[in-house]
Symmetry: C2
Amino acid sequence: MKLKDLGEFNFINRISKSIRPSGRVVKGIGDDAAVLKYTKDKYLLFTTDMIIEGKHFYKSAKAESVGKKALSCNISDIAAMGGTPKFAVISVGLPGSLDLRYADGLYKGIRKAADSFKVDLVGGDTVSSGKIIINIALIGEVEKKNLTLRSGAKENDAIFITGNIGGSIKLKHLNFTPRVKEARFLVNNFKINSMIDVSDGLLADLGHILEESNKGAIICEKTIPVSRNALGFDSAVRDGEDFELVFTLPLPQAGRLEKAWPFATRLSRIGRVINRRKGFFIVSKDGKSKKISPAGFTHF
Amino acid sequence: MKLKDLGEFNFINRISKSIRPSGRVVKGIGDDAAVLKYTKDKYLLFTTDMIIEGKHFYKSAKAESVGKKALSCNISDIAAMGGTPKFAVISVGLPGSLDLRYADGLYKGIRKAADSFKVDLVGGDTVSSGKIIINIALIGEVEKKNLTLRSGAKENDAIFITGNIGGSIKLKHLNFTPRVKEARFLVNNFKINSMIDVSDGLLADLGHILEESNKGAIICEKTIPVSRNALGFDSAVRDGEDFELVFTLPLPQAGRLEKAWPFATRLSRIGRVINRRKGFFIVSKDGKSKKISPAGFTHF
């Protein structure tokens, strides 16, 4: 049997099941970042992302944008837990024949993202490789009271999303701003029951929240903020790498949040959490409701 | 200018210089692992290593050994700081056409190494890739009093090495035991002034200690523990991936250490730290002393 016959998510599930975490692990595989015991008031967060030339970007892309992306997807994972990014280590695989300016550009992009989010770049590994590979691992912190998992959605929670989705392939997947300040505002001022960043696509990622929380949802097509760059509604809700935040909070707090939202970044209320037995539905513009199978982008 | 014209160490130096660590970083780039502020009595350690098919291993190698190596080199880095490994995240790039048994074997090897050293596997990333790539990032801990850097060697320190060196290409580079228990014994019972693990080759890695400590050294060929698998003395002291520990401690403690050493792993006293102005020398078996230029394996 080949890896692609099993599929990415099944392979990850298979691995996860064989791992027995110790008591130091609050949450292991299966959220945006791992949650680890740390101090009396805080948890440590730990995440990693690998990007490869020809898969996640092409060499025609600006080196600085590629470097920025490599760190920013990790920062987005920490944001989705309600936390603050702190320390990163960077592994790069580079061809010896690579133009030095391109290599410098990659690090310039990483450094710029690190400076913007006060991340310390503290180490790494450099190896030779046919294709450009960047792997970053990032440590963050979160106050225990602010930790936000995928698994906390409650029935009747309002579902929100930041920014616009879709069309990230055109530009945004290389040039997005991780929603750290938005996430920190949310966890500091509201009871955010669940949160995730949109990396596999809105339907897939909201699907992860529902599965981990054992809930259903109903969302409304007309409220979903589709980017002008999107190819259409269907691709907008299924394509990945938007790096926006999807979160749920108790319905009574929804109005206050909409009034208090202080950012230029758009905020949209797109639906409501319901009982699992009712399923996962979308109400289309013509008022009909359709059942959703939340498949998103998979690597194999 | 191409990356290979600059060379790996020059490229890393160039990157390091452009990074300004914050006050939370005790030691950033330039040791076996980064040292970060943590609790009143402990530091956090943070390291990462990337291995790539065709560079660090061939696909003919047993998958389980490859997986074991991927985690073990990181554990060895934590050992070289005097610390204990704790939490790992694993990124893998795999071809979709890969036999599932091979993919399972990689994870089995990682899991076995993790179990042996009580490391929690807490997350990761899975992407599709033409070649097999494994990147692991590892968090460890060390008591402040036990932290051992490359930069602490003192004049007249005795220089020791664990195990045998050379010939790692034949088998050992895929099948070594990180020297965690040896390192913990050392830092708990002796004043270890400096320590490093042998990844670039004995001369290169002892050279790193001397450079960071601003010292010279004299070592003795006849005391250097060369493996039966080594191609010869010169390659044994220059080839990398032995993953033994080289360390220095005050001369008055050397005899007590040799008596107290409780492990089956060999322990060899190979020389002495001297003034930097005197340089870095080796006394060959015929009694002549030769100046050393400590070049080891470089990737570009």
